[in-house]
Amino acid sequence: MAEALSSFRICDFTGQLAGAGATKWLKSFGAEVIRIEDPVREGRWDILRGAPPFVDERRGINLGGAFNSHNAGKYGITLNLRTATAKRILEQLVEVSDVVSENFAKGVMERWGFGYERLKAIKPDIVYVSNCGFGHTGPYSDFKTWGPIVQAVSGLTFTSGLPGREPAGWGYSYMDHTGAYFMAMAILLALVHRQRTGEGQWVDLACTESALSLHGPAILDWTVNGRPTRREGQPHANRSQWPPMAPHGIYPSDGDDEWVAIACRDEADWEGFAAVVGDAWCADTLFRNLDSRLASQDALDGHVGAWTVERSKFHVEELLREAGVPVSAVMKPEERIDLDASTADFGLWPTVKHAEMGAVRVDGQPVHFSETDWRITRGGPCLGEHNEEVMTRLLGFGAEDVARLEEEGVL
């Protein structure tokens, strides 16, 4: 099958998930992604390189399980940019690349002598995309972030919680995933522009702004009506504000830490739900229409939870599906990965071959293209794994040059 992005080469300084996740998409669709890492620090700037999960008892910078997923199929080379020789090699690489991508703190690329102006001087139509927490301008541009910090500052932590309690936030770096998606969009948008005009550009992506753009209706409610989200009774993350629905929530089911999500979109759903439950409380005038159910949501949720807790989450699912009501068990990782056949049927967990880990499953892409579908077959690169391949094939070095440069500490 043809590959959609095989005409593009990415000179890739990204790491962690917020950056590496972006170039993972490009690589999945055939772009040549060349990761550049620091041999002196053994690529440890990307903390996921040597971080759990691990496939077995072995530990080390080539064995991080998440790193392998985010970097599947990419090439990995090392460049010690403290040396003049490595800087010249990087110049050569930029010259033959379409994109330079990075998610360092502001100023790192400039310190190495590879800010946008320099990159553009080397390759006039280069697409340069920087992804940092607060962007490269503004009062906080020197501040540091991780995913959880981006989520806190941008309102995403706040909106994920229950009234009267501290924020629950996100139990993972939602904005590392999502920041990576925005970064991949930015790269592709700039490539579309270049394909049509021949013009490169610098994209300044501030992950906190990407995150803040996800609160549209709440922000308009503030700018138009002056209504803040920080108010009595809010946030109530499992309830529905837009549109209002009731019941709408996550309810306990039989078993230890087992839960089920239920949403009644309209009166038909409510009637279907009430018919399945069949208890007298369903006919209470408190719950006779949407307005009254919204006004009595705490009482309603109490009744719903008392009904669900008597049943397994999958039984609740079965009963309510029959009645045409939106419902889903809260799926645990093992349930959605190994028990829900739909994910495997979609090909969502491809097995890659990693040089040291062997065969291991990773995240796939949640899409299928009829003509140029994605492929993920090779694992993430070990540190400097492709020094020789990349240097000889792309930059005209001999194998013996590469060995010498490695010995000299340039690679």
């Binding site: 806190a152 936030g169 925005f182 504000q241 293209f369």
Partner: protein, 419 residues
């Protein structure tokens, strides 16, 4: 697709790309992302309009036509037409529209377009260049896509809530509202752009099957990786990453009752030095006997290996003093002051803002994230959230307010007929 320059003016990267969007709640965000980048997104609604036109919040809290702020947000920069796909004349009109389009974006029930003779095979015959993106709960080939759903049930089915919530597991798992649909939309947009680039180098159009549940399934970080790689299950914790083994708290209540996320505690000499300096500025060093360890940390030479916490007494004491100092300072200052002070000390700490607090922050104001849009029908300027990324040569912009029902019928249908 036409050229990206328009009369020498800078225009968005997708200027000249025509997208037909069949109005449905789950894909509205994808259409907006494309439209704000300059694509000519034509939003096709059924007679009577899309139900989300009536979603709250409303202008001045009064429901009514064109008063939904939800609608306003999700449909900026689009043009709107009414087409009745259930009538033969409407289908004819839709085909004529698609014949001029680069992209069809839809989230129709799995078999609906096929039954109407408007699925990919039919449309490809009219318009071989068409990129048809179909967004469904489980993909076009999975019968589970026929099940009723909302953002809540999509997220519950695909992972996020399992990882989000509180240390107290008697409280329910939490979902971040609307983010299930948003995540699916991000993949829909990535797909559109990837397929357009392929077309740009001589490739054909194609059909793209986007699964909403698959999108969230591959966006849960450690929850999936820990199972895939090590067959272990993460457990949710308040305000921090779900984890197989419990980890230390990172959410700190400050003197004003608001919260901050303390992220990774100090571990570098300059961080210990800055923290000590701050403690002294606040006159709090006398309250913290462990401050002496901060001094040791500030003067530390060689690697400060976090793996030695609990093994090496000095490293353990220094690391612990860093945490204690942060806790003490947080108890004396507001969450916002704590955030600013930590960041000025080089520590990656975040204040937990509500959306409006973030929106009003001087940093985002300075970056012009607040974007005024004139609503000529109300003779009023409304301030919208701004660009998720700043493309300097082909910028993001809100080119118009959300369309009224059928607002562009005459304009768009005339354009089609004169082609």
């Amino acid at each position: 697709m036409t050229e990206a320059k328009s009369g020498g003016q800078t225009v968005g990267a997708l200027h000249g790309v025509r997208v037909v969007e069949l109005a449905r709640e789950p894909i509205a965000w994808a259409g907006k992302l494309l439209a704000d980048m300059g694509a000519d997104v034509i939003l096709v609604e059924p007679p009577g309009g899309d139900p989300s036109r009536d979603y709250p919040p409303f202008l001045d809290d009064e429901p009514g036509e064109d008063r939904s702020l939800y609608w306003w947000h999700y449909h900026t920069s689009k043009r709107g037409v009414v087409v009745d796909l259930d009538a033969a004349a409407g289908r004819e009109r839709f085909r004529a529209l698609v014949a001029t389009a680069d992209v069809l974006l839809e989230a129709e029930p799995r078999r609906r377009l096929g039954a109407l003779g408007l699925d990919y095979e039919d449309l490809n015959a009219i318009r071989p260049e068409l990129v048809h993106v179909a967004v469904t709960p489980y993909g076009r080939n999975d019968p589970k896509s026929d099940l009723p759903f909302t953002d809540l049930t999509i997220m519950a089915a695909s992972g996020p809530p399992w990882s989000c919530g509180y240390d107290d597991h008697s409280l329910p798992p939490i979902r971040g509202p609307l983010q299930g649909y948003h995540t699916a939309c991000h993949f829909a947009v990535l797909s559109v752009l990837t397929a357009l680039l392929h077309r740009g180098v001589g490739g054909s159009g194609q059909f793209i099957d986007v699964s909403m549940t698959a999108a969230s399934n591959v966006s849960t970080e450690a929850a999936s990786h820990t199972w895939l790689v090590a067959q272990r299950t993460v457990q949710r914790q308040t305000g921090r990453h779900a984890s197989v083994l419990p980890s230390r708290e990172t959410q700190q209540e400050c003197a004003d009752g608001r919260h901050a996320n303390t992220g990774v505690p100090p571990r570098r000499p300059h961080e210990f030095a800055a923290l000590l300096g701050w403690l002294r500025d606040l006159g709090l060093d006398a309250e913290l006997p462990e401050a002496v360890f901060l001094e040791m940390g500030a003067n530390w030479e060689g690697p400060f290996d976090l793996a030695n916490i609990g093994r090496d007494d000095e490293i353990t004491a220094i690391f612990g003093a860093g945490r204690d100092a942060l806790k003490l300072i947080a108890s004396k200052v507001s969450a916002r002051e704590f955030f600013l002070g930590c960041q000025r000390s080089g520590l990656a700490v975040g204040v937990v803002n509500s959306p409006e607090e973030a929106f009003e922050d001087p940093h985002f104001r300075a970056r012009r994230f607040q974007v005024p849009v004139y609503h000529e029908d109300l003779a009023r300027t409304v301030v919208y959230p701004g660009a998720p990324y700043a493309l300097k040569a082909s910028p993001w912009t809100i080119s118009r307010r959300a369309p009224r029902l059928g607002e562009h019928d005459a304009e768009v249908f005339e354009e089609i007929e004169t082609r």
